[in-house]
């Protein structure tokens, strides 16, 4: 139970004289008599009367704090908006605020997870980081967004898939983490992309078949020949540009990229598990977060995945979750096994 009953409601309940509420009224009076520490978890609370019963329905509400680095590279920057504050009028700050709210709603609705830490914790973001800073990142505590250079990127807060990707890193970290190098790093990136894509689909109410499966659509300037940064549906096809080159993501283990750059190609080889997820979601159909997303979520948060898991270890873990949750021969378990085989991770695929 994440909701807390606010004092004014307790007071009303304590004063209730209806005989059927006598016990509740006494409980409320006792609750009011106890000095309570301030409880930081916020909640949406709906109170209604159904027949003789007073019904409380609670769901957690986000606690967002947006700061502005004012083009310097210092964190957290100046606080510009808290949860109860009106819009600032600054596009990046307000987009970040809204995106955090959408991601929070997704985590709760899809997985009954209260915020990134699972305990209703504050969602913090800093916008306007650095001068023409061409990146968005998760620093272990908060999301940080640059403004882009205006030549390649227009900024990063305009895409919910980017915001949710960064929060996805937070969920991974709070769940035990995946070491940010090589295959475990590519899994960390892939899981963040899964959160990014699913949050966007949740906002839009899209099924797996309707979704674009693009990460970062709309953040390139019109000068760039490309629709997004990555495509989970067709890794390697998101952009093909004179300056940036071609999207280097593989979709199969035979094309795994060995490199010392990018922490061992964590943003490149994530294409392989990304494609596996897309295959599972497409095979199952409907809203991807309901089954495919749930299997991935339980795998990441289950507590038994090693920080150094490689693709094959992760594949085994997802198959185990699918079989446990839905049955050994279930449609879900079959879809997961088939997907990992199709991208060459299992069944004789390269076991890097």
């Amino acid at each position: 139970m994440y909701a807390i009953v606010p004092p004014y409601l307790l007071s009303r309940l304590a004063d209730a004289e209806a005989p059927h509420l006598a016990v509740a009224a006494e409980a409320a009076r006792q609750t009011l008599a106890v000095t309570r520490a301030y409880h930081a978890t916020r909640a949406n609370l709906e109170v209604s009367v159904e027949g003789d019963a007073l019904v409380f329905e609670g769901s957690p509400a986000p606690d967002r704090v947006i700061s502005d680095a004012e083009r310097r590279e210092r964190l957290p920057g100046v606080r510009v908006r808290g949860e109860d504050d009106p819009a600032t009028g600054d596009t990046a700050a307000d987009q970040a605020f809204d995106g955090l709210g959408e991601t929070f709603a997704f985590l709760w609705d899809a997985f009954a997870r209260a915020s990134v830490d699972g305990a209703g914790g504050t969602l913090a973001a800093t916008v306007h980081y650095g001068e023409k800073y061409d990146n968005a990142f998760w620093n272990g505590e908060r999301m940080v967004f640059g403004d882009g250079d205006g030549e390649v990127f227009t900024g990063f807060t305009g895409s919910i898939s980017v915001i949710a990707h960064e929060l996805g890193h937070g969920v991974v970290e709070h769940s035990g983490g995946l070491e940010y190098a090589g295959q475990s790093g590519a899994l960390n990136e892939s899981v963040a992309d899964v959160f990014g894509a699913l949050t966007e689909q949740h906002v839009r109410g899209q099924t797996a078949a309707e979704a674009s499966w693009l990460i970062g659509a709309g953040i390139f300037t019109p000068a760039v020949q490309g629709e997004a940064l990555r495509s989970m549906k067709a890794p390697g096809t998101a952009y093909d540009d004179d300056v940036l080159g071609r999207d280097p993501q593989p979709a199969h283990m035979r094309d795994y990229v060995e490199t010392t750059e990018d922490n061992g190609g964590v943003h490149i080889n994530s294409g392989i598990p990304n494609k596996a997820f897309h295959l599972v979601a497409s095979a199952l159909g409907g809203h991807a977060w309901e089954r495919a997303g749930r299997i991935w979520y339980l795998t990441v948060t289950g507590g038994s995945l090693p920080r150094t898991a490689d693709f094959a270890r992760f594949a085994v873990a997802t198959v185990h979750v699918a079989a446990t949750e839905y049955g050994e021969d279930s449609e879900e378990a079959v879809a997961v096994r088939t997907a990992w085989s199709a991208v060459g991770v299992t069944n004789g695929g390269a076991q890097h």
């Binding site: 990146n135 960064e166 280097p248 010392t260 922490n263």
Partner: protein, 112 residues
């Protein structure tokens, strides 16, 4: 003045520096380079030699969270060639000065 190049540090010029930036949320690989002739070499040699090349042996490239940039910096100055791999969090002070200078010289001459 610096001279931009997309190639590895050149063999003709007195000084050549290449910065490769990988990673970041986008995972885009970008490369900037500069070659300086003897007339402008002193400034670049000073920028290069100000960096602690022998100390950049950080074992933990993952420090600082996810989606940070990673840098590979290569330099050739009279009598020496140098290379360093840096996490974004490490690329401060003289490293940052060198990276910014290469970026600026490269951008200024290539117009990209």
């Amino acid at each position: 003045m610096g001279h931009s190049t997309d190639q590895a540090p050149g063999e003709g010029a007195a000084v050549a520096v290449t910065v490769v930036r990988s990673g970041g949320f986008a995972g885009l690989r970008r490369q900037w380079g500069v070659e300086a002739d003897s007339a402008d070499a002193d400034r670049w040699v000073a920028l290069v030699e100000a960096c602690p090349w022998d100390e950049c042996t950080s074992g933990d490239r993952t420090a600082g969270g996810a989606d940070r940039f990673a840098y590979r910096i290569s330099a050739r100055v009279p009598g020496a060639t140098r290379r360093a791999d840096l996490a974004e969090a490490e690329a401060s002070g003289p490293w940052r000065a060198l990276i910014d200078a290469v970026h600026e010289a490269s951008t200024a001459t290539s117009g990209s």
